[in-house]
Symmetry: C2
Subunit: 114 residues, 2 copies
DNA sequence: TTCTATTAACGTATATTTACGATATACAAT
DNA sequence: ATTGTATATCGTAAATATACGTTAATAGAA
């Protein structure tokens, strides 16, 4: 057994889970923080900043790109990675909604039940 | 190879990644949403609401409990699961900080570099 | 005590992730 | 063309995650 059943869940839940998955490794969190401070960095700079080999970083970057957290733009022989801030904002908002930290009505409802 | 290197990253990054990991499966997202609306549910109710077997749900609940997203309180023969809303709020806030969606200064800096 | 209901724990099959060496590819300069 | 630099891709080993059948543990009911 172990046939994945993720397709049985609703698309929003799958989407949020997918975004969370992309953020579920400390290397990827670190990359995002790094890009946040520098507003764009080449792959080599990221490799130098983290304790992982180049192919591993490349793999992590691909995962971040897959869900749209970062964008990649070739510049000559190298590639510049940048945060997609609006996409991140959207996800953060969706997350807060789902987790109930951005919804006054929810707090009220919860209080009413208590 | 594949000796995990997570210990080489800073504790905050590890913590955020760990929280994200807990939210990285649609079943767990769905459970959180369910608890949000009902303010507490027994394991059996959750099992009935999701397309997964009881042991699998139990496993997912343990993961959510591990990072403090939910709490478990026995009530007779059953166990009531509840959201830990303040913990979730804290994490959401830390996330927004890290992702730069909650920081005016950051936006200003980014704009200045552009 | 014995039965039933509820949930956790164990064991295990399969799938996915992580990490990296080796290699390929793309571009620039010589 | 050749060389060097930067990054992706391939292949693969080890670690983890997912899913569930089976079994154990616990609490209350009969």
């Amino acid at each position: 057994m172990a046939r994945r059943k993720t397709s049985q869940f609703d698309p929003l839940a799958r989407d949020l889970a997918d975004f969370a998955k992309a953020m579920s490794h400390p290397a990827r969190i670190t990359i995002v923080k790094l890009l946040q401070d520098s507003d764009g960095a080449f792959c080599g700079q990221i490799v130098n900043a983290l304790p992982l080999a180049q192919p591993t970083i490349s793999q992590h970057l691909r995962e971040l790109e897959r869900v749209g957290i970062i964008t990649a733009t070739p510049q000559g022989p190298r590639i510049c990675y940048r945060l997609n801030r609006s996409r991140i904002r959207n996800f953060c908002h969706a997350f807060s909604e789902t987790l109930g930290t951005a919804n006054e009505k929810q707090q009220a409802r919860a209080k009413a039940r208590a």
